[in-house]
């Protein structure tokens, strides 16, 4: 039933955005030359694949040439640094996460990255970030894990970014335990560590879906401000005494100063593509469906992420 609703929602979005796209085409903005699409994620992974498939769909729909290019590392900061100095005429865009322009931008003090330095285009999908453990640990709920920690078990907690490390710390503090926080590279590495038994528990942003469905992994908690789609009964961060959350999205951005017609045309083309064909199917499968946030809403989201990062850092000090 849930999939049916999701499919219906996706279809509705699709028709809606398809109409806007043809509308945008009518306005006639066209990039002058091929568009360089910087991808801040390792080649071949889920995020990379979604970016490339979206590029294919945009090309199919509009005829624009798009050249994807990997610039990885430093939580998206490398990609944003490269994008910052590129022309703001719609021929350069980047796929990053909202965290790159939020917490990571604040943490990378010297780099000079702020949301104001970029034009947000559209988000494509949100994280289904959960606190995940292996099923054979024997914990059915978050409380079981806390009980095990209080009984004297040393628990290692895998995280894939400094922001999540702060959240893990606060989560432990609020529940009266101290986790050994282990930062690893990427969500896949957290899952590998948990599967192999090197880590006891960790944050995973959606890749746990299959493992949870097959019963090998358990979503102990939602790291978001709302419940997980897959495990709605798991407590969310605010239920566990932490006022921050790991809410985040994959997002396309361009350099600051992008003309309005270019911004609108790119936003429409990308958001339509994210719901279309192979791109739409892949995002549905890997991230549980598209989440499109554009325009002023996106600007506000990026700015508030950036502003609240300082508070999170302070809380975790």
């Amino acid at each position: 039933m849930k999939t049916l609703i999701k499919a219906a929602a996706a279809a509705a979005l699709l028709t809606a955005s398809a109409t806007t796209a043809s509308f945008a085409d009518g306005h006639g903005w066209k990039p002058e030359g091929p568009i360089k699409m910087i991808i801040a994620f390792a080649a071949g992974g889920g995020a990379d694949t979604s970016g490339r498939l979206i590029a294919d769909e945009v090309t199919a729909a509009t005829g624009w040439d798009i050249i994807p290019e990997q610039i990885t590392g430093k939580g998206g900061i490398n990609a944003l640094l490269a994008l910052k100095d590129m022309p703001a005429d719609g021929t350069s865009i980047a796929l990053v996460v909202t965290e790159s322009l939020g917490y990571n931008a604040v943490a990378a003090e010297g780099a000079g990255i702020t949301p104001g330095g970029f034009t947000g285009l559209t988000t494509t999908a949100g994280f289904q970030m959960g606190v995940v453990a292996k099923a054979d640990k024997g914990w059915a709920t978050f409380a079981d894990m806390i009980a095990a920690a209080k009984a004297g078990e040393d628990l290692s907690f895998g995280v894939m970014s400094p922001k999540l490390a702060d959240l893990a710390y606060l989560l432990g503090e609020a529940n009266g335990v101290e986790f050994n926080i282990v930062s690893v590279r990427g969500g896949k590495a957290v899952m590998n560590g948990v599967t192999a038994g090197d880590l006891d528990v960790g944050f995973m942003a959606g890749i746990q879906g299959k493992g949870v469905a097959s019963g090998d992994l358990v979503n102990l908690a939602s790291a978001l401000s709302e419940p997980l789609k897959q495990t709605p009964e798991a407590p969310k961060m605010s239920d566990l005494g932490v006022e921050f959350s790991a809410d985040g999205y994959f997002v396309f951005v361009a350099p600051a100063g992008l003309p309005d017609d270019a911004r609108k045309a790119l936003t429409d083309a990308l958001s339509t593509a994210a719901n279309t064909g192979k791109a739409g199917g892949m995002i549905e499968k890997a991230f549980g469906g598209t989440t499109i946030i554009t325009g002023d809403d996106l600007d506000a989201l990026l700015q508030s992420d950036y502003d609240s990062s300082g508070a999170l850092m302070k809380a975790a000090e």
Binding site: G44, T49, A108, D154, S183, V184, T195, G197
Partner: protein, 526 residues
């Protein structure tokens, strides 16, 4: 349904998939075509200096996904193609190592030690035949072990190895390679230290790139393929050019087309067999360990074979390093045996052991329907487990590719022997062009060219002072992983600075690391 029914269904799924075309009413499934195409591409890529299997897999994967999509039907054709590349390239990789002294991957480096001297003596075909026999034997053996042991072996290994043990295991691998390769422990350690230093650049956890001296070209660190190809191939090219300048182009002895002793007799195969068998076992064991890779296997196989061989060698036989077929056999069997066993952690835990396995996992993940993990090998009490059937489909694809390796691979290896007759003054520019092109295709920047040339100069200097470039390359590859694992082990043990010594298995690995260095220091150099 029992395990046997799953095996039969998996086997059938390879042959009965969507039809590509039919011959006399018998449908040929698309999967078979893809396995064959992948294999042909792999062996060509492997045999081309400067190209290697993982790179071809990286390029092929997105193309395959866009052709076949990510439905369950796409699984076997796409994975068959990737496995074809992986296995074809494993065999083909020995070709440039033997013929041109330019290994495309670090694990083929040991093959050059005896392969190239044999080629120079006019025994190129024999060397290639030895490589073919041992590579495919090792690979097949490893696949048999995979099919028999995959469900429980990886889980068993992982239950003993936690983060501190993994960090210690990496240190042991580096210590072993530094101490054993190249004859001198001191030079080996220096070479390894330089590799670790290069791996430090721009990596780490901070939000600013370290040790780059502000250069934006280095902000992502040295690109891995660029550095390796620079040291291994450009270094050799530079050295050969210098040799040619010193001794003149004409005086370089051209190997005769065929000389006596370019055949591989049955008696010789019998002599090689124990080396192949020993190395196959070594390679399989190393392959089943997480994240160590085929180069250590090749080194171990070679070192053990050298020790055995020196004891039994008659005066007329060539030493290791002077063109002994046993050296090729030991190396190739070991590095090829890694590839099958590497899938043990891949299938049962979803953890890659080497670069090729990374792309297999990416393929599985992009397609869906197959979720590597313990659930794959669960036999349900009623109904059937589709993932287990897919796993058996993969095994079938692997054995089909082994068949291709034995047959078409053999023909191929005999045919490329002709290339040994290409004179060096023609060959070197071609190799140089191919290598630089391969690097440019992967990195798309001019900076990568300069970095490659820089590493080429480093490789040249190392060869001039008699220092093996292999410890450098391995340390460069494993350096990041070592730092990461050590950092994680430190964090996971709650900030215990002595995590390498407080866990018994880790401590044992550390003692072995010290022992291997001390033992090799005391040994009189040959």
């Amino acid at each position: 349904m029992g395990i046997w029914d799953h095996a039969v269904m998996g086997f059938m799924s390879v042959f009965s998939g969507p039809e590509a075309f039919s011959i006399l009413g018998v449908g040929i499934s698309i999967t078979l075509i893809m396995i064959l195409t992948g294999f042909l591409m792999g062996i060509t890529v492997g045999a081309t200096p400067g190209l290697a299997g993982p790179m071809a897999m990286a390029i092929a994967l997105p193309i395959l996904i866009s052709i076949f999509g990510f439905s369950q039907d796409a699984f076997l054709p796409v994975m068959g193609f990737l496995i074809g590349i992986m296995k074809g390239a494993t065999l083909g990789g020995s070709v440039p190592a033997i013929l041109f002294n330019t290994p495309g991957t670090p694990d083929a480096y040991m093959t050059t030690l005896d392969g190239y001297p044999m080629a120079q003596k006019g025994q190129a075909k024999k060397a290639l035949k030895v490589a073919h026999l041992s590579s495919v034997s090792g690979d097949t053996f490893s696949d048999v072990v995979l099919v028999l042991c995959a469900p429980f072996l990886a889980v068993l290994v992982e239950s003993y190895l936690d983060l501190p043990e993994k960090a210690a295991l990496l240190i042991l691998s580096l210590a072993f390679i530094a101490a054993v390769i190249g004859g001198s422990v001191g030079k080996g350690l220096i070479s390894m230290g330089l590799g670790l230093l290069a791996a430090m650049i721009a990596t780490g956890e901070d939000f600013y790139p370290r040790l780059t001296m502000g250069s934006p070209a280095l902000a992502e660190g040295f690109p891995i393929a660029t550095a390796i190809l620079g040291v291994l191939i450009l270094g050799e090219v530079f050295k050969s050019i210098e040799d040619m300048i010193r001794s003149g182009i004409q005086s370089a002895p051209r190997p005769a087309a065929t000389v006596a002793g370019d055949r591989l007799s049955f008696a010789e195969i019998r002599r090689l067999a124990p080396h192949i068998a020993r190395s196959s076992v070594i390679g399989t064991i190393i392959g089943a360990l997480p994240g160590i890779g085929s180069t250590l296997a090749a080194t171990l196989g070679y070192a053990f074979a050298r020790a055995r061989y020196d004891n039994k060698r008659s005066a007329s036989d060539p030493r290791f390093g002077e063109g002994a077929p046993e050296g090729i056999a030991a190396t190739e069997a070991a590095n090829s045996a890694v590839s099958g066993a590497n899938l043990i952690p891949v299938l049962s835990l979803g953890i890659p052991g080497n670069a090729a396995a990374v792309f297999l996992i990416l393929g599985m993940e992009s397609i869906g329907g197959f979720n590597p993990g313990p659930a794959v090998f669960r036999v349900p009490s009623d109904g059937f487990n589709p993932e287990l059937i897919m796993a058996f489909g993969l095994f079938t694809a692997m054995f089909l590719t082994n068949g291709l390796n034995w047959t078409i691979g053999g023909v191929f290896m005999r045919a490329v022997g002709v290339m040994a007759r290409v004179p060096k003054e023609v060959l070197l520019p071609v190799v140089l062009l191919l290598t630089l092109t391969a690097i440019y295709v992967q990195e798309n920047t001019m900076a990568a060219m300069w970095i490659a040339v820089g590493f080429g100069v480093l490789g040249y200097i190392m060869r001039r002072v008699g220092m093996s470039p292999l410890p450098f390359v391995i340390a460069f590859i494993l350096g990041g992983k070592l730092e990461e694992t050590a950092r994680q082990a430190f964090a996971a043990t709650g900030g215990d600075a002595f995590f390498l010594f407080t866990h018994p298995i880790a401590a044992a690995f550390m003692v072995m690391s010290l022992a291997v260095i001390v033992f090799n220091l005391r040994k009189p150099s040959p």
